[in-house]
Amino acid sequence: MSEFEPKIVAYCCNFCAFAAADLAGAMRVQYPPNVRIIRLPCTGKVDAIHLMKSFEDGADGVFVAGCLEGECHYLEGNLRARKRVAYVKKLLTEVGIDPQRVEMFNLSSAMGSKFAEYVEEMTKRTKELGPASTDGQKEPQKQ
């Protein structure tokens, strides 16, 4: 399992998470290279089908990173995204895929190191879960 490198797709808002990722780069903050960032005008642009298609096409983890709640550039796009992430968790559970593989994070454009922390968290989480294609097929972990 230690050799498994998960593929993580991050849907990032242009005004916060994407800028935070940029800042992380400028600050030379190290974070795992497993993440593929998709820049969005707002996380409100994310639809459930985008998240589902990411898994369908081989992602092991997906996260949506939007502005802090109450600070969305378009007022409530991030709140809509949060609902859609919760919906996708339900859809994945029905399919037999661990709902922890999809997550919503909130941060501001000044939080470069926080962005790196979130990437690390998702990478750690998906590494522990293993490839998404094997969900529900593994032996239960022994205590």
Binding site: I49, M52, K53, E56, L91, E94, V95, G96, S133, D135
Partner: protein, 222 residues
């Protein structure tokens, strides 16, 4: 409009377990409005099915489509060519859509993916309550526009029953008593005398109790 809920995914997967190529057909009518069978629902269900089947090691090919209305021949006939290439059709339209497909294209197997529930009204965004039971003999004129057939658990014509308390139904405390609503409405309209008339038992033959119902508009018939 007609309101329907999607069947559980396990039930859907079981109903298509023998097929390797299907059409997943939505409907652009009522079920699009109630989020259970529109183009978006088609995309999401197709994605779920493909992922679930991949995990089972039995991949499936799905043609996605959402005709304007699945209950009309003109719209579903457009898919004739595709129908010849698949083993079955999974329909997420109401029961009328599924049967329209079955009757118009009897050579194909059409499987329902939704449970059609009722004719309803959106009481708030994405929440629907039943408003019409299609009883075939409308009583809304003398009930002040509140339907006791679809909204009263006992379908009373001379209500309320003894179970009405604080304006709520005894069957479900979250449901308003239809007869309380009727009383309040008639009081507001100054037509409480409507309640002094004892209504005779309803003739349920106009409802579903006398077999299939039919109707026609002769002037428009070809």
């Amino acid at each position: 409009m007609i309101v329907a809920d999607r069947k559980p995914l396990d039930e859907i997967l079981n109903s298509i377990k023998d097929y390797k190529k299907i059409i997943l057909m939505g409907c652009g009518g009522c079920v699009t409005i109630c989020f259970s069978g529109g183009a978006k629902a088609v995309e999401l269900l197709a994605s779920q099915i493909k992922m679930a089947r991949k995990k089972q090691g039995k991949e499936i090919e799905i043609i996605e489509c959402t005709p304007e209305r699945q209950c009309e021949y003109e719209f579903i006939d457009e898919l004739k060519k595709e129908l010849e290439t698949v083993e079955a059709v999974l329909s997420i339209a109401c029961g009328v859509g599924v049967q329209a497909m079955t009757e118009r294209h009897p050579e194909s197997i059409t499987i329902p993916g939704l449970n059609t529930k009722f004719m309803g009204y959106p009481v708030e965004h994405a929440v629907w309550d039943e408003r019409c039971a299609g009883c075939g003999d409308c009583v809304l004129e003398w009930t002040g526009g509140v339907c006791p057939i679809s909204r009263c658990a006992k379908k009373l014509l001379n209500g309320p029953c003894g179970g009405s308390a604080d304006g709520k139904c005894e069957v479900d405390k979250d449901t308003e008593c239809a007869w309380q609503l009727i009383y309040e409405r008639l009081k507001k309209l100054g037509k409480l005398e409507n309640l002094t008339v004892v209504r005779e038992p309803k003739d349920w033959r106009t409802s579903t109790n006398a077999g299939q119902r039919k109707t026609k508009f002769e002037e428009a018939m070809l």
